[in-house]
């Protein structure tokens, strides 16, 4: 299952400058594992031992995964996953 992942500026050092990469996986967790394989260091930036870091927002298409099934949110072919820095607010607490 290939999905498109949008990469924010601060993480583009891990993707060779690319603002979008393709990744495989049927859930957000699987996609993050696949990202880690191809772009080592990515998982640690996004997740800690409790799941997605408090200040990182991940959107499956247009919805924050915190309002869906979090890391278990199911993805289908062609979906877009966006990693949005919480830098400008909107972080769930």
């Amino acid at each position: 299952m290939a999905v498109t992942v949008r990469i924010p500026t601060p993480l583009r050092t891990l993707t060779g400058g690319a603002d979008e990469v393709s990744a495989d996986g049927g859930t957000v967790a699987e996609v993050i594992d696949n990202l880690e394989t191809n772009h080592p260091g990515m998982k640690d930036r996004l997740c800690d031992e409790k799941g997605v870091r408090r200040f990182v927002n991940i959107y499956a298409n247009d919805e924050d995964i915190r309002f869906l099934d979090n890391l278990e949110t199911a993805l289908t072919e062609g979906d877009t996953l966006s990693i949005v820095p919480a830098i400008a607010g909107g972080a769930s607490r």
């Binding site: 924010p8 500026t9 930036r45 870091r53 200040f55 309002f67 820095p85 400008a88 607010g89």
Partner: protein
């Protein structure tokens, strides 16, 4: 501010309270930690100082006139300040901000009649800077580009205000000053004023430890467009603070000191405590940039509520 009689809201900026953090100090016995409550400014943040100074200086030398629109890139607080003073002094304000800024910020600035232009949330605050530069280049006569990242009036506000006030309030005892780096205006201007004091005061700049961080308003310089007003050699030390440490300190300040502050303040105080712990008998002054209520996000059940 409570006891002053004023002719305009513009005069209400500055002279903010200095508060001792007695509970927190117990983590570093023998030291004193003070917090300068910049959220007591009329726009609710430290950014009232540079916004006011940039506008007044530009009005004085003719860069800002009533037929021009003040435009700038801001993730929020500077925008609130421009909007407030623009309304009070009769100037039109346009702001470029990433579309994921908090709803509260959008609502506050629009309440003052400001127009918001959105930039790509994936590009962060640097994306807003790039966009505003393009807009100004296409229409140079239409705008006064305040450019808080390059405008010397920004640090000047802190040289004239924040730094001088700190010396008035705790000049006899301060040994260390801690401020976070965003535009770097607070750190640069205040440090320059404190350096004029007869006794050496260590000035420490707090910076987010990670490139992808959640300390709104602060900049990780290595991965950002570096502000023109920033001089990396000016602070005695650059102290990296992690997002988690900043967020946890914000929660602690609310629970133990009765201060509900934003995450950048949490990071500043986390840095101040670290400095206090390693400097015996020190007196550390940190900056409270804004209140925490500016960052409230919709709760899960509110998010889908149809008004």
């Amino acid at each position: 501010m409570r006891f002053r009689k004023m002719e305009s809201i513009v005069e209400a900026v500055g002279n903010t309270p200095m508060l001792r953090l007695r509970t927190l100090e117990k983590d570093a016995p023998g030291t004193k930690i003070y917090l300068k409550l910049e959220y007591a400014n009329p726009g609710g943040s430290v950014k009232d100082r540079p916004a006011r100074q940039m506008m007044l200086d530009a009005i004085e030398d003719g860069r800002l006139t009533n037929d021009k629109i003040l435009i700038d890139a801001t993730s929020g607080n500077t925008g609130v300040a421009y909007s407030l003073f623009g309304a009070a002094m009769g100037y039109r304000i346009h702001l470029v901000m990433p579309s994921n800024v908090s709803q509260a910020r959008k609502d506050i600035t629009e309440a003052f009649g400001t127009e918001i232009i959105y930039s790509d949330p994936m590009e962060g605050s640097d994306g807003a800077i790039v966009k505003v530069r393009k807009m100004v280049a296409e229409n140079p006569d239409r705008y006064f580009y305040a450019d808080q990242y390059s405008n010397p009036s920004n640090p000047r506000a802190h040289y004239l205000g924040t730094g001088a006030e700190i010396l008035d309030q705790v000049g006899g005892e301060i040994t260390h000053f801690v401020a976070g780096l965003g535009t770097s205006g607070t750190c640069m201007g205040t440090t320059r004023r404190l350096r004029e004091h007869s006794r050496k005061i260590e000035c420490i700049a707090v910076e987010p430890a990670e490139a992808l961080h959640g300390l709104e308003g602060l900049k990780h310089m290595a991965s950002s467009l570096v502000p023109e007003i920033y001089d990396s050699k000016l602070p005695d030390e650059i102290l990296p603070v992690g997002t988690d440490a900043g967020w946890d300190m914000s929660d602690r300040l609310a629970a133990q000191e009765g201060l509900h502050v934003g995450h950048s303040t949490g990071a500043n105080v986390a840095g101040a405590l670290e400095v206090a712990k390693r400097a015996e008998a020190s007196c550390v002054v940190a900056i409270a940039c804004d209140r925490g209520d500016r960052y409230f996000a919709p709760m899960k059940w509110e998010k889908h509520y149809e008004w």
